[in-house]
């Protein structure tokens, strides 16, 4: 219990430091005192020296974007942890239930069909709707006689993802306007550029509420991970209901954040993995720790994306992949070393 609290405490501190570091940095460097002052300003009775431009940068530009990175990163990592427990497969990630391919298709469709021009929220809405509809379709395809075998879910996910990827590529190929094409590809590679308070307000509630709901399933996930499906049922877990809930909430949470940030890979896969290596497989720690770890990870990745190149922002998905692949190789090496030593 104590160790759990300590781990989570450390992660909270890491997140706070990451957020602060992200607020300091960017194309315009804002001194730490000014950042702190700008943040504390709303508190009545406090009077600090902050220039209007510093305030604008910190509060209006960076703060929403950094908070959004935290929410997106946390949600993706948490969803990854939940799906890894559900599928009892450490290689699972939110893409496995079709969210990524669904959101991608929704977004591309919205833009290439002209729908996105009608209202500002049409693109994220389309992405969200198609993403969640895809998960629903996968669930329906895989469920027969009131049972949803995980293998069937996996196969249905693969099939639908492949189909949607093909359709997305098809639509991209049709695009005549190169600028639009560029925008779409940037969206597909993931990014938080230009995202502000309105975006955060849109996704914060579903993402955070959904994440809190997922925390409640930690014990059930423990049973599932430790004893398998039949073992969990013999211990009183209502398995079909659990699968349904986990799929629905994960789809909603991931769909919501991906609709705003575009498809960002590796967070849902690697963060739970890394957390499990350090803190063990107990989901009562793993789930909140994954959320906190994912939040810090994406805040820092976004920081890199903004500041690495002076000319242009890097795509967030590229940064997470650049960090992700070496980490993967490291894990593989460790696994191999273990296997050889045995």
């Amino acid at each position: 219990m104590k160790r759990r609290a300590r781990t989570l405490g450390v992660l909270v501190v890491v997140l706070a430091l990451s957020v602060f570091a992200a607020l300091l940095s960017g194309s315009v460097s804002v001194p730490a005192r000014a950042v702190a002052a700008a943040l504390i300003e709303p508190v009545p009775g406090v009077d600090f020296e902050v220039t209007p431009s510093q305030r604008a940068i910190v509060v209006h530009l960076r703060l929403p974007r950094v908070l959004l990175a935290a929410v997106v990163g946390g949600s993706l990592a948490l969803s990854g942890a939940v799906l890894q427990g559900l599928f009892r497969n450490p290689m699972a990630d939110p893409g496995i239930i079709g969210i990524s391919s669904g959101a991608a298709f929704g977004a591309v469709f919205a833009v290439t069909s002209g729908l996105a021009l009608t209202r500002p929220w049409t693109l994220p809405l389309c992405a969200f709707v198609v993403a969640t509809a895809t998960t629903f379709a996968i669930y329906r395809l895989a469920t027969r006689g009131g049972r949803t075998p995980l293998a069937a879910l996996l196969l249905a996910g693969l099939a639908l993802s492949a189909l949607l990827s093909a359709l997305t590529s098809f639509l991209l190929g049709l695009a005549q306007n190169l600028l639009i094409l560029r925008e779409l590809i940037f969206w597909l590679l993931g990014g938080l550029d230009g995202r502000g308070w309105p975006h955060l307000r849109l996704v914060a509630l579903p993402a955070l509420a959904g994440s809190a709901a997922l925390f409640l399933f930690a014990r059930d996930l423990n049973l599932l991970a430790a004893s398998g499906e039949e073992g969990a049922r013999s211990l009183g877990v209502e398995l079909q209901r659990l699968k349904r809930w986990l799929l629905v909430v994960t789809a909603l949470v991931t769909g919501a954040v991906v609709s705003v940030s575009g498809t960002i890979g590796f967070v849902g896969l690697l963060v739970p993995h890394a957390v499990r290596l350090v803190a063990g497989p107990d989901h009562r720690v793993l789930l909140p720790a994954s959320f906190l770890g994912g939040a810090s990870f994406l805040v820092l990745a976004d920081l890199l994306a903004r500041t690495l190149s002076p000319r242009e922002e890097l795509r967030l998905g590229v940064v997470t992949a650049a960090v992700g692949v070496p980490f993967f190789l490291f894990l593989l090496q460790r696994h191999r070393a273990y296997a050889e030593a045995v």
């Binding site: 014990r219 049973l223 430790a226 039949e230 013999s234 211990l235 009183g236 063990g280």
Partner: protein
């Protein structure tokens, strides 16, 4: 119980009482595992019904069943590195509400279960590092931590060395006597079955072929017709069970039925 491979219409009519230790025996594919799964409500019957303590099994929630029935499966999965002690404590899950934490009583029950199964020293070790036999004992400890009225075991001695085979069955028999728990164990080892179970249920092709004390069920004729072996069966004064010596396999005869 209808199964595609077997002749339809085969049914099983069985009653297990409190304080009984029943050995479920029969050749491979006889339906022992299926019967256990039906009793644990992991499988629904295609016809007929099962009752637990007077309540129809189908009407009970999974949790309600889990408070009374515990299962020790044939193979214990080990995909994630949970500590053995944590796995045993999971046996208390059916008795706890969703938002309840672990009570001191839960901890005590779990620890007692580990002492009974000789797994107390394994408590801190991850199950991925344990041998199959050690994992089997941890599974038994978890089932005992559930404090069940009915304990179902599928080949509980399969991976165990002789010492732990005896200790495990001994422990179950003692619990059955002291707490009036009922136990049904599918066993391949006929001598162990005859030694520890006062009642044996012999299955073949999805039906119960014999039901009674070991000396009545395990006759040379039965062994011939059901198991297809020629064997000597004599009472073993040292163990209290039977000594079964398999001499040879019976040649396959062409059957038309």
């Amino acid at each position: 119980m209808g199964w595609a491979q077997w002749p339809a219409g085969r049914s099983v009519d069985l009653a297990i009482g409190a304080g009984e230790m029943v050995g479920l025996i029969g050749p491979n594919g006889a339906g022992k595992t299926t019967l256990l799964r039906l009793m644990a409500r992991l499988l629904a019957p295609t016809g007929g019904a099962l009752w637990l303590d007077g309540a129809a099994l189908a009407t009970l929630s999974q949790r309600a069943v889990a408070r009374h029935v515990a299962v020790v499966a044939q193979a214990a999965p080990a995909d994630f590195a949970f500590a053995a002690g944590d796995v045993v404590r999971m046996g208390r899950h059916p008795h706890r509400g969703r938002f309840e934490g672990e009570s001191a009583e839960d901890e005590a029950i779990a620890r007692a279960a580990m002492t009974m199964t000789d797994t107390a020293t394994l408590a801190g070790r991850p199950i991925t590092e344990l041998s199959a036999g050690e994992r089997q004992r941890v599974s038994l400890a978890r089932a005992l931590a559930q404090a069940p009225r009915l304990l179902l075991l599928d080949e509980p001695t399969a991976n165990l060395d002789p010492r732990h085979q005896i200790k495990g069955l001994e422990c179950i028999r003692r619990l059955v006597r002291e707490t009036r728990m009922a136990a049904v164990a599918a066993l391949h080892d006929l001598e162990l079955a005859s030694r520890y179970c006062a009642r044996l249920v012999l299955m073949d092709f999805g039906a119960v072929v014999a039901d009674g004390p070991p000396v009545e069920v395990l006759t040379p004729e039965r062994l011939r017709t059901v198991y297809g072996v020629v064997a000597h069966v004599v009472p073993n004064a040292a163990t209290g069970g039977l000594s079964i010596t398999v001499l040879e396999a019976v040649e396959e005869e062409a059957t038309t039925s």
